[in-house]
């Protein structure tokens, strides 16, 4: 075969790029979104939302691969090992949720402060730096799966800490991007006007950055290492992320339901007090078995019992509001996802968390599929749902504040996406709960946490059936996600009616 023949077979890079560009243009024409409807800050926000959705898809794909490897352990062995799939699955989840939160904040700060974003150019640079870094980190995860544990590995390949495996260069990059983000927030509110929401957000960002630093330094003592590592994992998720969601919810409730600012802000303060009051020392339930002093058993047990109180407050307040106000919403999908958030958060974090958190039972359950069951429902219920709700708010405005209440065209899509995603995650949660129950019973309690016990539990029919069901419900989740993506791209496309004005209650 001569070079001319090769040219016929292998397309030139320029023609591939050209084709990709044409496809992208065709896609833009099909989606038919007008960025002229958005402010500069909102245009940046939708970039974050777009990457968040791509990472959400990646999370589900790598989750499906991991689930399949539980059923067929030889599947992709030596090519894409389980530990790598699981790592990308979880990292993609953390990062897409962060992208969703950051995007939501960029979306709301201009409205909240009453002025344009300060340092927008830096914010745009930070977005591309972060996205480039995330892409590079994932490529390194996939192409360098095995290697020596040297200092250089820690800096450039993988830091080795579960859930926050990003190498140190990326850690520093993430911190720098978060500093730019914080600068945008603080400078914008300083130029415009401060509010209760702005104050809580600013303090939360300081905590968010500060806590991330705790996961960056290496220690030779595993107990010390785990002690600080949990500061990032627990305190990020059960303190700073919860507050961030509180801020986003507070603003959304004002915009979505016309709730009065004074009331929303007062409840934001109450929520922060309740969450910090129970959540910070709730950290103790992660210190039970890592070599920490015995008093952590009591501290962790006591504060874990308090952690559901904010959820009880939510129930009471919801009933109060439904009794007093006749709220009308202009965005049905967004409100439906907010309701899914309330239920998912209550069951995932409250019920599933407390079921196995006291040390007397956690001795057997920690690190089993029970934890995975709790993790699936609580992350989905507390964070995925609220991000999706915000995506629907954003798409409504991107389309020119169109009608998205009763009588929306093709409403079955968002309803089925909501149903399939929730059914899929609940199904996986129940399947993992059965697997975790069996694992903690056989492997931990009966066999005493030995290797033989580990394999005995993995080979139990109930464990294996549970893993099959987890796979099936994983596919249901994937179908729901496919429908969600389709709906987000098309909802309101041919809608000519404008959304009603929201009445402040």
């Amino acid at each position: 075969m001569n070079t001319t023949q090769l040219d016929d077979v292998i397309p030139k890079p320029a023609s591939v790029l050209d084709k990709a560009r044409r496809l992208l243009n065709d896609f833009k024409v099909w989606v038919n979104l007008d960025s002229g409807n958005l402010t500069a800050g909102q245009q940046l926000a939708v970039k974050y939302f777009t990457v968040a959705m791509i990472l959400f898809v990646a999370q589900i794909l790598f989750g499906l691969l991991s689930a399949l490897q539980f059923i067929y352990p030889d599947f992709l062995y030596g090519i894409l090992d389980f530990n790598v799939n699981r790592m990308v699955h979880i990292n993609a989840m953390i990062v897409w949720m962060l992208y969703g939160f950051i995007g939501s904040i960029y979306w709301l700060i201009e409205d909240e402060s009453g002025t344009d974003i300060v340092g927008l150019k830096w914010a745009n640079i930070a977005f591309w730096v972060l996205t480039g870094a995330v892409t590079l980190v994932v490529l390194v995860y996939l192409f360098i799966q095995i290697g020596p544990g040297k200092d250089s590995s820690l800096w450039f390949i993988n830091e080795g800490r579960e859930y926050i495996e990003a190498p140190r260069w990326a850690d520093l990059g993430i911190t720098a991007v978060m500093l730019v983000f914080s600068y945008n927030v603080v400078a914008t509110f300083s130029k415009g006007k401060w509010s209760g929401i702005a104050g809580v957000l600013t303090l939360d960002l300081i905590a968010l950055i500060g806590l991330y630093l705790a996961g960056m330094f290496y220690m030779t003592n595993i107990t010390h290492d785990q002690y600080w590592w949990w500061w990032v994992i627990h305190l990020w998720v059960e303190a700073t992320w919860e507050v961030l969601v509180g801020v986003i919810m507070a603003w959304s409730l004002i915009k979505l339901l016309g709730a009065r600012r004074k009331i929303v802000q007062t409840w934001l303060y109450i929520e922060v007090a309740l969450m910090f009051g129970s959540g910070i020392l709730g950290l103790g339930h992660h210190y039970f078995w890592i070599g920490m002093p015995e008093y952590w058993l009591s501290v962790g047990g006591f504060f874990s019992a308090l952690e559901p109180i904010p959820l009880v407050a939510m129930v009471v307040h919801a009933i109060y509001d439904s009794g007093v106000h006749a709220f009308k919403t202009v965005n049905h999908p967004a409100l439906a996802w907010v309701i899914a958030h309330a239920f998912g958060n209550f069951f995932g974090a409250g019920v599933w968390g407390f079921m196995h958190t006291l040390p007397q039972i956690n001795l057997y359950t920690h690190g089993t599929q029970w934890s995975a069951s709790h993790g699936h429902l609580s992350f989905f219920g507390a964070y995925a749902t609220i991000n999706i709700a915000f995506f629907y708010l954003a798409i409504q405005h991107w389309r020119g504040n169109v009608w998205m209440a009763a009588g929306t065209r093709h409403a079955w899509r968002w309803k089925w996406a909501l149903g399939l995603l929730n059914a899929g995650v609940v199904g996986m949660t129940v399947a993992l709960l059965i697997a975790g129950y069996e694992q903690s019973f056989i492997e931990r309690a009966v066999e005493g946490s030995t290797w033989a016990g580990y394999f005995a539990a993995q080979n139990q029919p109930s464990f294996q059936h549970a893993m099959n069901w987890r796979m099936i419900f994983g596919l249901v989740t994937a179908a729901g996600l496919g429908l969600l993506v389709w709906d987000l791209l098309t909802i309101g496309k041919y809608e000519e009616r404008k959304a009603e004005k929201i009445v402040v209650h």
Binding site: Y320, Q360, I361
Partner: protein
């Protein structure tokens, strides 16, 4: 020192823990609803939920072998879940005091009168 759960009590430990949260939420929901709609049936259902909560707390205390200062958790759950919805309800009323349409506030004022 803690005494791990016995094998025979595995299921009941998980079940009673879950039931504490569910009954706590059901009590909170029904308590709040009884304030919105003063129907005696709702009040009775709220108290029944609280009774389930107390039974669950007692069962968890037995199954998880709470002793000594661990009993504080049982007491805190029993007392805390009873008063938390009441306190939160009062917070709701106070924080909404200047609301335009306040049928509940009117009802509470009527109660006070």
């Amino acid at each position: 020192m803690i005494e791990p759960v016995a094998l025979k009590d595995f299921f009941i430990t998980f079940f009673s823990s879950a039931l504490i949260i569910l009954a706590g939420a059901a009590y909170a929901l029904l308590f709040a609803w009884s304030k919105v709609n003063a129907h005696i049936g709702i009040k009775i259902a709220a108290l029944a939920s609280y009774a389930v909560l107390i039974a669950s707390v007692l069962e968890l205390t037995r199954a998880a072998q709470f002793q000594g200062y661990w009993l504080i958790i049982s007491v805190a759950m029993g007392v805390g879940y009873f008063f938390a919805p009441i306190g939160i309800w009062h917070l709701c009323v106070k924080t909404h005091e200047q609301s335009v349409d306040t049928p509940i506030k009117t009802k509470i004022q009527e109660d006070e009168q």
